[in-house]
């Protein structure tokens, strides 16, 4: 049975407004499907670091293969969209923890956040690096991620880094970046069998030694 209130409301709206509302709902549904496809792709890569097929993505997203290609012209375009989504999510995760407190507190915040990022995004990072091929779009995203990591190091350890000359500072940042790479985390956890806390302790020891003394404020 038709809801008389809805019918009345619909009838009371001008024809143009009803059409606009319908288009808005369609757009919203389409945006939701797009998001579901991106999340399906991401979930599949996080489960297994291999490029998923369009069929598997569609299955996981609960839509048809045609729907996938209606929203993304090819799998490469989808890959780039997934990468952007992942970078945005990881950046939000990083920025949620402000660089506050003394040296110990900042080391702890930085390393634990970085460890959590590595835990969550390692499979995605590996899949991206293995399949970026000659794609300029994907290479630029890899560079962007590295720049975010560098900026974070510089921000977290600004008091210590500001106390040394430029060349020395650059070398320290490069060394810390090498150390906290995704694959360095993977080797500690997978090859050396360290727990999350043990792996954090290794990075803490190293970064603490690499950094110059904290200047007295």
């Amino acid at each position: 049975m038709t809801d008389p209130v809805v019918t009345l409301e619909a009838n009371s709206q001008p024809a143009g407004a009803t059409a606009e509302a319908r288009i808005d709902r369609r757009r919203l549904r389409s945006a939701r499907t797009k998001q579901a496809i991106i999340e399906a792709y991401l979930a599949l890569v996080l489960e297994r670091p291999q490029i998923p097929t369009a069929t598997r993505i569609a299955e996981r997203a609960g839509c048809s293969v045609r729907s996938v290609f209606e929203r993304f012209s090819d799998l490469h375009v989808l890959r780039v969209a997934v990468m952007d989504h992942a970078v945005a999510e990881a950046t939000a995760q990083v920025m949620a923890r402000e660089p506050q407190g003394d040296r110990r507190a900042r080391l702890k915040t930085h390393i634990e956040t970085r460890g959590m990022i590595c835990e969550k995004w390692l499979p995605m990072w590996r899949a991206l690096n293995m399949n970026r091929g000659d794609s300029r779009d994907l290479k630029s995203r890899v560079v962007m991620v590295r720049q975010v990591i560098l900026r974070r190091i510089e921000m977290m350890y600004r008091p210590e880094l500001s106390s040394v000359p430029e060349l020395q500072r650059r070398r320290i940042v490069i060394a810390i970046e090498s150390l906290i790479d995704f694959e360095s985390w993977a080797r500690m956890r997978q090859d050396n069998g360290l727990s999350f806390e043990e792996a954090c302790a290794v990075w803490t020891l190293a970064i603490d030694r690499l950094l110059p003394p904290t200047p007295v404020s």
């Binding site: 490069i174 150390l179 790479d181 694959e183 360095s184 090859d191 190293a206």
Partner: protein
């Protein structure tokens, strides 16, 4: 006399054939290594390998049942070429750091394309994965030997942590990033590693 001569000729005939076959095998491995380095991270095709080695595709598959077996043989051969950094434990700290870093830098320069090809194509292969782990363990043993004086001054747990850190710092991809991402020259990259290693290592104990 005739009786004794005949088997010798037959044996030398067989030996000659074996030797030729071994040489062919070696040339195929070397062709694979050269191509894998050039095309990294793509795996060269059997046709490309055969062409580079100067043999037929059939010759390749007579010696290696598939490309994966050839990959494993090539990695094993490459491992024999990786020159160990001499552990000049008698020299002072700075000389040891410089010697280790420069040797590692040269090794990274030489083997980076092949390493990337190995990592990208190890897939589910237990044999290739095993070799990757063996190479990393070998690197750690080299570090432990070169920095033995400094590492001997700290407890086992810390020693283990420091070795993991040194291995991560001097990883082949870390070298690649210094050059490709940060744009450092060979000397600048060596200096960055030397400064970091010097900060990471505990003080060198005074000689007994």
């Amino acid at each position: 006399m005739v009786l004794t001569k005949r088997p010798t000729t037959q044996t030398s005939g067989v030996d000659g054939r074996r030797l030729r076959s071994l040489k062919t095998k070696q040339r195929i491995i070397e062709a694979y290594l050269a191509l894998a380095g050039e095309k990294s991270p793509l795996v060269p095709t059997a046709a490309e390998i055969a062409r580079r080695a100067g043999y037929s595709v059939r010759s390749v598959f007579e010696r290696f049942p598939d490309i994966h077996t050839l990959q494993v043989a090539a990695v094993d051969f490459a491992l024999t070429l990786v020159t160990p950094s001499a552990p000049p434990s008698a020299t002072d700290r700075q000389s040891r750091i410089r010697s280790q870093v420069e040797s590692r830098g040269r090794s990274c320069e030489r083997w980076l394309p092949l390493w990337r090809s190995l990592i990208a194509n190890q897939g589910e292969s237990a044999e290739l994965r095993q070799r990757v782990v063996a190479l990393r363990q070998w690197d750690v043993r080299c570090l432990a030997s070169i920095y033995a004086p400094e590492l001997s001054t700290v407890p086992d747990g810390e020693r283990r942590q420091l070795l993991m850190v040194l291995e991560a710092l001097t990883d082949i991809e870390s070298w690649a990033r210094m050059q490709e991402f940060f744009g450092l020259s060979f000397e600048e990259a060596c200096s960055a590693w030397m400064q970091a290693i010097d900060r990471l290592l505990p003080p060198t104990p005074a000689r007994a």
